[in-house]
């Protein structure tokens, strides 16, 4: 039987961070009777995928798309089904609304996709007829590659696509959505992550729970309550104490200390190493540097009133995709547009208001060095520029710019500094360090990394990562 801890401040497992990875691993461990404590710096759960209210409206921080929709053609293979089963949250309870259709737009060239993979294949064939055989060969190579195993080799996707495809534009157009949905590397993505995201976006598909991220966060927190898992909010961990082999306790900013048999940290690899306070030990995680800015407009009516019926648009101005920290505050050359109101069936009921979200690469260092006054000024300036620029990629968007402006009654923008605030990631790195540790192990036998720096990113990835660490590092060894 598990030796369940009884001393009041000693736990079986302490989890740092109440993001999706932390909450998911806590549910797994609590489910089988372990005494678990979650320590979270913020006052809300969800981490990068949280929610807030502004101007009387609810906003999701990070939900553009729930990937891995178990579409008809992808059947039971979707990891989303696996994680629902593991957490015992019925998939139906999420009330998933499917995307209408989405697009990758490079200059004059468009590739459209929806939740039917065959449609995407036909689009690739239509736009790149000469690539048909090579693309099929690439797809077979991707199926054969052990992308989902913990020791998958992190080779360069750019190199592979360069070898396999004849037309570099197709390679660039495949890199764009996959990098945006989960690459911590500059201007590239490692091949296993590319395959996982390709499957997640194209083979499975995009959806959105009708209630947004709360549809996932609420059942998770309800379950934790039921299972008696303790959760302390507003409780930043200041340091993790070790004796060189094992971790013994964590200490909060306010000085409180907690001991435990196992520790799971979801705040990032490098950030966890910093908490270990071992100044002479070389860091094993590199510093990530890819961050973003996102501007949101709330407008009257429905996107269809403007003729905009797509859900997500990945856009790039030229035929060369550049994915890195820009040299200026914001890189307008590429980005992602999301119209969350275009999930779900077209209903005739009149929509009172809708949202437009536009995301671009941004430079953390430049944003963080601004004085408070300058920061607010730049934020205001870029908010407008970003929204105007985004309209270029929507059908007849530019000509509707005045109308759109008049109908917009609330805007909000978050910068790389906001991401740092929500995740504590160094550099506001959206997807953490380019160094990943898939099995979550560290040099300390009872300390594990989960979530972003395992290399499993996005909502589904973070949750699966948290589950995998709970299962393979703790439950299997009880």
């Amino acid at each position: 039987m598990p030796k369940t801890s009884t001393a009041s401040n000693h736990y079986d497992v302490i989890i740092i961070g109440a993001g999706l990875a932390g909450l998911s691993s806590a549910v797994r461990l609590g489910m089988f009777g372990l005494k678990v404590l979650i320590l979270e710096k913020h006052f809300v759960v969800g981490g990068l995928n949280s929610f807030y209210a502004k101007g009387g409206r609810k906003f999701d921080v990070g939900l553009h798309a729930l990937t891995n929709f178990p579409s008809e053609s992808s059947g039971k293979s979707s990891p989303l089904l696996k994680l629902c089963r593991q957490l015992r949250i019925p998939l139906d309870s999420l009330n998933l609304l499917e995307q209408s259709s989405s697009r990758i737009s490079f200059g004059e060239i468009d590739l459209c996709f929806n939740n039917d993979f065959e449609f995407f294949l036909s689009e690739v064939e239509k736009v790149f007829p000469k690539e048909k055989d090579r693309f099929q060969k690439l797809l077979s190579k991707m199926v054969e590659f052990p992308a989902y195993s913990v020791d998958a080799k992190e080779i360069s996707t750019r190199e592979i696509l360069g070898q396999e495809l004849g037309d570099s534009l197709l390679a660039e157009m495949l890199l764009c959505p996959t990098c945006y949905y989960g690459s911590a590397r500059a201007n590239d993505i490692d091949f296993p992550t590319f395959i996982m995201l390709f499957d997640a976006i194209f083979k499975q598909g995009l959806a959105r729970p009708d209630r947004g991220i709360r549809a996932l966060l609420d059942p998770l927190t309800d379950k934790l309550k039921e299972l008696g898992v303790e959760r302390r909010m507003n409780s930043p961990v200041k340091s993790i104490q070790t004796d060189q082999i094992q971790v013994s306790e964590v200490i909060l900013e306010n000085g409180e200390a907690f001991t435990s048999d196992h520790f799971i940290s979801t705040c990032g690899g490098l950030e966890t190493e910093k908490l270990l306070c071992l100044p002479d030990t070389p860091r094993s995680f590199d510093l990530g540097r890819f961050s973003i800015i996102e501007s949101i407009s709330v407008f009257d009516g429905h996107p269809r009133d403007f003729g905009w019926d797509e859900t997500v648009i990945f856009f790039n101005k030229s035929d060369k995709f550049f994915y890195d920290q820009p040299k200026q505050l914001v890189d307008l050359n590429s980005g992602v547009i999301c119209l969350p109101d275009n999930y779900g069936p077209i209903d005739s009921s009149e929509k009172k208001e809708a949202k437009l979200r536009v995301t671009h690469p941004a430079n953390f260092k430049l944003w963080s060095e601004l004085s408070e006054q300058k920061y607010q000024k730049e934020k205001c300036f870029w908010e407008d520029v970003i929204l105007q620029n985004g309209l270029k990629y929507l059908p007849l968007g530019e000509s509707k710019s005045e109308l759109f402006k008049n109908r917009t009654h609330l805007t909000d923008t978050f910068t790389p500094c906001t991401i740092k605030r929500f995740t504590s990631h160094e550099n506001g790195a959206l997807y953490g360090s380019p160094t990943k540790k898939r099995d979550g192990s560290t040099k300390f036998s009872n300390l594990f990394i989960a979530g972003t720096d395992q290399g499993y990113v996005g909502i589904v990835g973070a949750m699966l990562g948290g589950i995998a660490v709970a299962n393979n590092q703790i439950l299997r060894n009880l």
Binding site: M1, F32, G33, K76, R85, N471, L475, N477, L478
Partner: protein, 86 residues
């Protein structure tokens, strides 16, 4: 406790962890994986539920013993019996 009881216990656990699977026609002598959509994560859950509900420990090296209902019954029966007399 007999083998049939144990098969039912395992089936009940599967019904709990995989409510979307149809268990009505499951055959005892055929591997569960061949009849149902179960993966290694699901087998871990069967093991964890046996521990939680019945106090039975299955070491990781022996997870394979649970591959069919028959093999589970054969493997678990002595464990249930020794638990009952302990």
């Amino acid at each position: 406790m007999n083998k049939n009881n144990i098969k039912q216990i395992v089936l009940d656990i599967i019904a709990e962890i995989a409510p979307d699977e149809d268990l009505s026609g499951v055959k005892s002598d055929i591997r569960l994986r061949e009849q149902l959509d179960l993966d290694s994560m699901d087998f871990l859950d069967i093991v964890m539920e046996l521990r939680k509900q019945h106090g039975i420990d299955v070491p990781e090296a022996e997870y394979r013993q649970l591959e069919s209902l028959d093999s589970s019954a054969n493997y678990l029966l002595p464990k249930f019996e020794s638990g009952a007399t302990a």
